[in-house]
Symmetry: C3
Subunit: 319 residues, 3 copies
């Protein structure tokens, strides 16, 4: 693995998940691997659990961590050939090359604008940094994908599945704000590589990019989708078709205890933060079926697995 830009960068899922399971059991088996190594985390957008879990993962490996909040103060130019006499103060060519001088690994978080689909789905900030840095990059959620989350979700399902081929349902749920599609995209991309009966359910207008939805069977009737499910993964996203728009906030799509009863005693999953009684009822979140806190804990495990793989990459790292 040379970078973690998307879940596709994980070549061998079974081996990756096995390494993760070993780190979960004992986080300190490689606590000198990252000695003298520095992880620089670049935030174009705020982060809480991704930042903290990645930072903790790095410490478990003995790395140093340097945080960089990239706000408006540091306007980065992404176009080539521009006369930079306006708002941008540094070209990504220099920015990426310079940070590479101080880092052995670089993490990047950058959200979509949710205005221009073609632009967002180029994932330009991530891709340009990946192009001009000379050290491996970890995607800490980009405009279109959130691989650390997707890998975490699959890892969590693996620990809780009771049958060889569980029915796993990704259900859209309501939310008052326009959210990215990244978590849903990466969940599908990761779960799609497992031997799951993967079902996607959402209201009209909420189809995801075919690049990701192709991994799942689409069932527009949420009730049918839930029938016999082993895992219900709830997530809101704004429309991909009517890009960035909120087409529905219909509470009928909220995950309720009643709906959970039609499942096969399904576990409930969400990446957090979650709006209670909007996305999901208290009764579900506070029930033993909820895996959300374990998912959050597993973020550290997956981040550590990724950092470890990248530190060991023959082409990666400065020295």
């Amino acid at each position: 693995m040379h970078n973690l830009l998307s879940t596709d960068d994980v070549d061998a899922f079974p081996e990756f998940l096995k390494t993760a399971a070993a780190f979960k059991k004992n986080p300190y088996t490689e606590e000198t691997l990252g000695r003298r190594k520095t992880l620089v985390l670049l935030f174009f957008n705020p982060s809480l659990r991704t930042r903290v879990s990645t930072q903790k993962a790095a410490y478990n490996l003995g790395m140093n961590v340097i945080l960089l909040n990239v706000s408006q103060a540091w306007g980065i130019e992404f176009e080539d050939g521009t006369v930079m006499n306006l708002d941008t103060a540094e070209h990504v060519r220099e920015a990426a090359a310079v940070i590479s001088q101080y880092a052995d690994l670089i993490g990047i978080r950058t959200f979509p604008g949710l205005k221009d689909r073609a632009l967002d789905y180029q994932d330009r900030v991530l891709q340009q940094f990946a192009r001009y840095t000379t050290v491996p990059i970890v995607n800490m959620e980009s405009a279109t994908v959130h691989p650390l989350q997707g890998l975490t979700d699959v890892f969590t399902i693996e620990a809780h599945k009771r049958i060889a081929r569980p029915k796993v349902v990704l259900s859209w749920a309501p939310h008052p704000r326009a959210l990215p599609q990244a978590v849903a995209n990466s969940f599908l991309a990761a779960a799609g590589r497992m031997d799951y009966e993967l079902v996607l359910t959402h209201p009209p207008g909420y189809a995801l990019s075919e690049q990701f939805s192709r991994y799942a069977t689409i069932e527009h009737d949420q009730q049918k989708a839930f029938a016999g499910a082993d895992f219900i993964y709830a997530k809101n996203w704004s429309s991909y078709e009517s890009y960035g728009e909120i087409l529905s906030t219909d509470p009928k799509w909220m995950i309720t205890a009643e709906k959970m009863q039609s499942t096969n005693k399904a576990k409930f999953m969400h990446c957090l933060p979650v709006r209670r009684n909007v996305v999901v009822e208290d009764a579900v979140l506070d029930s033993p079926a909820s895996l959300v806190i374990e998912q959050a804990a597993n973020r550290t495990v997956i981040a550590q697995t990724v950092l470890s793989k990248l530190l060991k990459s023959p082409t990666g790292c400065n020295n």
Copy 2:
């Protein structure tokens, strides 16, 4: 000690102060105690010396430290049963449980609004986090108390007292802005457990909550209060009675060199930051009687003592 929410959480003051004295002498006697342990510091409000001294204390114990500035960006819901379709994005139940996955100890700073006394004195943010976290909590100044400061103040007095039962005076002093009562409250709660002649002096309308003022004799005449004092602790607070209001900025309450002459060569104390020539004259602050810089240095010692106790708590910490 399972948490440090208030100075009351310190069971045995003499033993606590003895441990602190040992750390002051040699800060590195437990420099591997915090190995593989992470302290997450949550700031709902800004902090300078509390943050830096606590961070340094953690490093002295070999801990990792992760800082989290919790601004408006992360609206936390504290009410149960709410339909979270407005400004709050995460419930304290999840927020506290999630951070507990990444932390072995959690520090929290949260100021009062100074508008609604009943609400502030519930100390809701602190109490709710203490309720829903699964690891020990350290109060880095909450709406009503600042135990790390109160403990520091007593520790500093102990090092400088020249008689068995010193006269210790907490004097209100003027300030142009409305400040919390937390420092004064915790000073009284901590000093009240020592064998001091504890006197509280303030203008009309500045009585503190009886929960804290009961530890002291109240003397409204500042001049009488100062007579024969061994320690003068100056601090401004806004009114508890006319909650959050500034009732006086009368410079007659400023601590002056002249007033200090009626004391028993009293030491001068303040938690800092201090406004010169408003709270206290230059002549006092720049005299050898001033302990303010030593108080600041002792913040590290007390934070280290608290972190050490919590790391050793049988019920505390993740593993």
Copy 3:
């Protein structure tokens, strides 16, 4: 070396540059020197590469690093005798003394206002902190000088010079915003102590303070200045004479590939961030002649050399 306020604090350049070269070869020869030592970095203004490179340098020496962003929230009073009943909440006497309790070394960044030349050139924030702290200070760019950059630049030239006495040209270049003179000043002060043919070229009105320009021959004709040069260092600064003003944005002063042809295959230098096709053409920056990324990498080397010297200073450091 007791402080690094300016390049003048480096007594013995040859020995300093030799130590730096050794650190560049192996950054880990002193990785326990900073054990139990804390570097506090104070930012009155934002910083990217200075912060990250200094932080990394400290980690290479085994130090702990604590960052303090000093924004408006912490108004510091610099005047003595003031009645502090307005915007300032803490006097530099306390602020500096308190931070000294937590730090073994203190780094400070503070920009000029570019309104009042006399005030800026007092470099008050830096000088006042240097006066009231009890531990060594590192200037991470002040109102008038940027010694870490100046030392880096000389170190970089030394590694690339092909003749004993190279011709080194500092050329003003256009920029849409008013920038400080600090980088140019420190470059002249540092390069002026080397055996270089040092030439300074700039448009009318852009003369630097005589304190710094005296190290160089001034040649107003950029073309003449470039003739036979071994190093071209490009940098914008706002006017020192018409203080803080932008007198010219004339693109004729941009560094171009064509102009580089009149040099002696000169290397191109800039401290970054650089505005492409405003300060310098893409063709120069993307050519093998450009040393800008190596300069950025050398920032760590120089910061490490300075921190190491200060840690070893007999009068420095708390214990």
